[in-house]
């Protein structure tokens, strides 16, 4: 297995291209889901009008090469590396440079401050990116890039449930979050749901769940059934596109689970907005 493609230059170039493309092109799986929702919507309803505007927005953004959303996000990068590959220690060393160039060249919005608490001056170039290296089973290396909007991340949460809360508690945590926060997260949503691991890692499960294409199969039949039932409950809330009523409130619930401590039932909900911007690139 060659590792020629696993160096700082290649990663930075892929990050640059992923930002430029995903800022302006609606993810095809998400677009299909919106098209299907529009066909199912009551003609002349407010929901149908909003869904039509989401599709029109995607057309304008692609044709004019302008951002789908004015919040062009913070840049989240995850490099998944299979067990047979060696990763140089400087693998992310050129990512911030790529982010700064992509945001300037693409005329994207600079949306980061230097320090959350002590220095809220704009960093001026949308850096730093938030990078993670993930060692996985199997071969090859895949780079994931997500431009995460502030509104949908703010509408997300981690809840540490007691194990006795069980599946019903997990469902309630998701429904509470949707009821309270969906209007801020720009529905129709993709809901990333992480269950398990530790306080910090459960949020990562939820974030990774957003990367799975809408319509792609769940991790297991059990997970698929849970996702489908929960999606129906979410849509029964009637919040709807742009939270202006009707359906759908969400086009998918994506679940990732993991082992955890006997005392724990960690749950994370990460909202993906109607301008979900991510790319997954096979590097090796």
């Amino acid at each position: 297995m060659g590792t020629d493609n696993l160096n700082a230059e290649v990663v930075a170039a892929a990050v640059y291209d992923a930002i430029r493309e995903s800022a302006t092109i609606l993810r095809p799986d998400f677009r299909r889901a919106i098209e299907e929702a529009r066909e199912a919507a009551d003609p002349k309803s407010r929901a149908e009008g909003v869904l039509g505007r989401i599709l029109k927005n995607a057309d304008i953004a692609a044709a004019d090469n302008v951002p789908l959303c004015q919040d062009t996000g913070s840049v989240w990068v995850c490099l998944e590396v299979g067990e047979a590959l060696a990763v140089p220690g400087n693998i992310f060393s050129q990512v911030n440079d790529a982010v700064a160039r992509a945001y300037a060249d693409g005329r994207l919005r600079m949306s980061l401050v230097r320090d959350a608490l002590f220095d809220r001056a704009n960093s001026g170039d949308n850096t730093p990116a938030f990078c993670e290296l993930k060692l996985v089973e199997g071969h090859g290396a895949t780079l994931h890039v997500l431009l995460k909007g502030g509104g949908s991340d703010n509408a997300s949460r981690v809840v540490m449930l007691p194990p006795g809360a069980g599946a019903a508690g997990v469902r309630k945590a998701v429904l509470d979050c949707v009821r309270e926060k969906a209007a801020n997260a720009c529905p129709p949503l993709v809901i990333g749901l992480g269950v398990g691991a530790t306080f910090d890692k459960v949020a990562g499960l939820a974030k990774h769940a957003l990367l799975r294409p809408v319509g792609a199969s769940a991790a297991s039949d059990e997970a698929a059934a849970f996702e489908e039932a929960l999606l129906a409950e979410v849509n029964a809330l009637g919040i709807g596109p742009a939270a202006l009523g009707g359906a759908p409130t969400a086009v998918a619930v994506h679940l990732e689970t993991a082992p955890c401590h006997i005392a724990a039932l960690p749950v994370a909900v990460n909202m993906g907005c109607c301008a979900m911007r991510s790319a997954s690139i096979k590097l090796v």
Binding site: N57, I60, D71, A243
Partner: protein, 183 residues
């Protein structure tokens, strides 16, 4: 029954008194962008001088931080940010003369009550369609707070910009009506 109306900015209290939660309103004329950092400064100015900054009395605010000019338009993309983050300042700004604000998402009970008391309204528009909304903006002019970058105060001129009445002057709240209807 919800209606669709076209209104010219600046909005008069008489014109907005006729609007009801759920109405679609196409706006034409000037609005002023203000987000989190701008609200802190506006509130400070109000405390220091007793007046809104930049002569904003009578104006409509747009909770938005646009992307730079692109595609021959004054802004590449522009859309609403979450309005509840401005709840800490909105009652005072409305009492000081702001007539309306445009954003997305639910407001606090205090903001809803202030709309009723002052005869102001909260309008929402669609999040995530900022390329489409930018086509309804014909001019953009920097007014102040340039150091805030995208959060600077800008005067945008709108042309048939689509919004919905989320909280009307009677305190009727579209988001809460939709929530209750589904229960």
């Amino acid at each position: 029954m919800a209606k669709t109306v076209s209104l010219t900015l600046p909005l008069t209290r008489e014109a907005i008194a006729a609007l009801e939660a759920g109405d679609e309103v196409l706006l034409s004329g000037p609005v002023y962008t203000m987000r989190d950092a701008g609200h802190e400064r506006a509130l400070q100015c109000l405390e220091d001088t007793g007046e809104l900054p930049f002569g904003l009395a009578g104006a409509t605010l747009f909770y938005a931080g646009p992307t730079p000019a692109a595609a021959g338009r004054p802004l590449g993309s522009v859309g609403p940010t979450t309005a509840s983050r401005m709840d800490f300042a909105t009652p005072q700004l409305f009492e000081a003369g702001i007539v309306a604000a445009i954003g997305k998402g639910k407001r606090s009970p205090a903001v809803v009550e202030t709309c009723r008391e002052t005869g102001s309204i909260y309008l929402c528009t669609i999040g995530g369609v900022a390329a489409l909304l930018a086509k309804a903006v014909t001019e953009s002019e920097l007014v102040g707070w340039e150091d805030l970058g995208t959060e600077a105060l800008r005067k945008l001129t709108l042309k048939d910009f689509p919004t919905y009445v989320a909280v009307d002057t009677k305190g009727q709240d579209l988001y809460r009506q939709i929530e209750q209807a589904a229960q």
